[in-house]
Symmetry: C2
Subunit: 489 residues, 2 copies
Amino acid sequence: MPDTVQPAISPLLAAIRDIVGDRGLLTDPVDTAAYCEDWRRLYQGRTPAVIRPASTQETAAVVRLCAQAGVSIVPQGGNTSMVGGAVPAEDGSQLVLSTARLNRVRDLDTIDLTMTVESGVTLKAAQLAATEAGCLLPLSISSEGSAQIGGVLAANAGGNNTVRYGNARDLVLGLEVVLADGSIWNGLRRLRKDNTGYCLRQLFVGSEGTLGIITAAVLKLAPRPRETAVAFCAVPTPEAALDLFTRFQAHDAAAISAFELMSGLGTAFVLKHIEGTTLPLQQASPFYVLVELATPRTDAGLDDAMELILEDALGDGAITDAAIAESEAQRAAIWRLREEHSEAQKREGASVKNDVSVPVSKVPEFISRATEACERLMPGIRAVPFGHMGDGNIHFNLEQPQDADPHWFLAQDHAIMDTVNEVVRVLDGSFSAEHGIGRLKPYMMPDWRGGAELAMMQQIKAALDPRGILNPGKVLPSLATQHPSLRGA
Amino acid sequence: MPDTVQPAISPLLAAIRDIVGDRGLLTDPVDTAAYCEDWRRLYQGRTPAVIRPASTQETAAVVRLCAQAGVSIVPQGGNTSMVGGAVPAEDGSQLVLSTARLNRVRDLDTIDLTMTVESGVTLKAAQLAATEAGCLLPLSISSEGSAQIGGVLAANAGGNNTVRYGNARDLVLGLEVVLADGSIWNGLRRLRKDNTGYCLRQLFVGSEGTLGIITAAVLKLAPRPRETAVAFCAVPTPEAALDLFTRFQAHDAAAISAFELMSGLGTAFVLKHIEGTTLPLQQASPFYVLVELATPRTDAGLDDAMELILEDALGDGAITDAAIAESEAQRAAIWRLREEHSEAQKREGASVKNDVSVPVSKVPEFISRATEACERLMPGIRAVPFGHMGDGNIHFNLEQPQDADPHWFLAQDHAIMDTVNEVVRVLDGSFSAEHGIGRLKPYMMPDWRGGAELAMMQQIKAALDPRGILNPGKVLPSLATQHPSLRGA
């Protein structure tokens, strides 16, 4: 056992090794390093060991031992948190519990439209299992190749299809959870209706591993879409984009599988920095919308509907131009303009990210007020808002002024975030729409969710994890919470 | 103040009167009687007073006083609980807090598709407000004329459209709640995405007033359907009904707004006892299905789709006959065959009700096994299952044998319920699908939801209502919980 392991913890690790075996315990810093840093490189923690149980029973036995010893546990899935939700503290006092080996698809039922998956299954693998069975797991996020179901649920992930199918929360029928005392809650029911007491599953979804460790889940599936139509539209303003959204909503809200807004500038960054991208329109526009319609029907005439709605919108000035994809390749090319936004912003220079939401109807007002406020704060700053307009969830990113020093720019991150959040607050929005709180934002909780709301959260935390051993320092503020410096990852 | 008021409570009531005024406090037994009995007449409680606050602030002030005095409160909306969830105890120690005067629609936004309503607004009034704005509040239950939003959410009501839009729980974006200490949680956010800490709203939805008093809610609306198609189908077996369901699901799950199963016998009771009902088919059948499709599209060709699917099903033997409604009057007549099931069963004789659910794929197995088991228990007993097949939620009601004594039959209620529940349990189902626990079923909780699950519920109850003043004796079992005799209401 390497020197970094504190002597006091050695007997605990030996007992854990007896449960999970050699394969289930990593103590060499070479092996544990990847588990100690988040992918945005905001945090660099330390841990004496990474525990990789192979079953729910092993997980429970490990938690029981840790609870007895009073040693904290940081649950970790694919370690793709945007807010440092899965990294251990710097002081080396916390053990990492990886769900990676809990990786079986236990069941899939095409009549019930449900699948039961263990928490270490990647979202991508779960999607593929659903697709192979002729169904759709309607959750898609950019990190789906490595994000694991347990983390996806613990973070209540959102993504591109939320406008149609809801957040991760909306797909959960049942959970299996190891609790803070090492007991197992088997709530893996796959019922559409079950009013037998408090809805515990929704407490764990979005709790970021602070109330229990999700080991398996029953997820809702949807019938696989068989008709899809994708269009890329030039819109003069966010107001026009909202007008366009209401047209599609009135036509058939259930057919909108994505409605994504992009700024002209952010799209120009993509065209400039990402090889092989082209604008499918004649002229550049101040804003663009990507709209995707989908349905399992084969007789729905989606293409005709798309054309009709866009023709009307063109006539009324809601859009100034549009391209409807006529092949899978064109669809992929249009989606790429949206998906490469983060990468293109990175190549253009330093940027500060804000993952915020407001009521859908307030998105245009939010964009114009937040842009003005940031430009007042820092002349030359470049707002590049994009994201899930159909959910009111805008990634309001700010790119450094041209020729500014990136380090100087990033040093202003809090002033920039505060400026954006001031506008969010006035519009009754949220300072974290889909990325969560993690280690990055607990300090914001008293200000935004204080009073009765935060008090309830703390009461629930104390009730379900009285010794505070599950993912301490995440979600809820504590005296020990550090206020980190942000980097423009 | 009448004699029935215990002297010790008089100062509290005087202080409450100072808050809510004379109009807000009923103490005369003549006035309070209706609040003390549930509509199924399972329970006859007593209360010193019914408090009717006119605002959230008044509600909070009242709860604060009761908390200080240690006096229990029974929140009550329309008093339409199926399980005695809103009646006070017999000992006269509990005050009833009626939400009836919290009856404003505060806001409705047709772009966000949300409405903000106070808890005393009836479901019907909320539906009408949505309809007037050109939208749909997609929740429909038989008691909607008197059921109030607060109770609908506290009970997580289900109903006919759950297969398309989910339970009440799935329609809630935000809540305002008065907590057990009289503090107010303002969680009335109307955001589609908001990952800022624990999901508290889903804890209150379905908690039946035991964790807090809901005073207002933000509900999701849907675009108003503009095309509807309704059919009444004869199916030989529940298996055939399930086959038919999967056909509609594969066509377009999002278009199914109801999929209701009825037994031939239950339907015969309707035709026999309810004036003006007729079978829209040539021949009687062992089972029937009512299917309703709906969409906001006007170009969706639902009628054609309905016809095509039914023709295919007829060809394959999944149905033996079908009638598609061709007018609003025909639609209403078909729906009446489903809606009069409870009333017709009552007129036929005594019956025992079971509101259970199983995974959708297990409904046929459940019906055949539960029917056999009940017939073994009591020769001549008549199973009349009906309900929301698309959710796996069957009202598995049992009608007394012909010529049996109703009192003798009802005295066997527990044996009958236990027999049905044995089958539910084997099929991983729920003993209370949409009606909840109330006062009727807490005694079943240890057996069905015991261990870690019930322990968590009790920990949460203790954390949020440490003095146990909110709706005591409901949902969670306690030593004081009585095991009532059921009546065949």
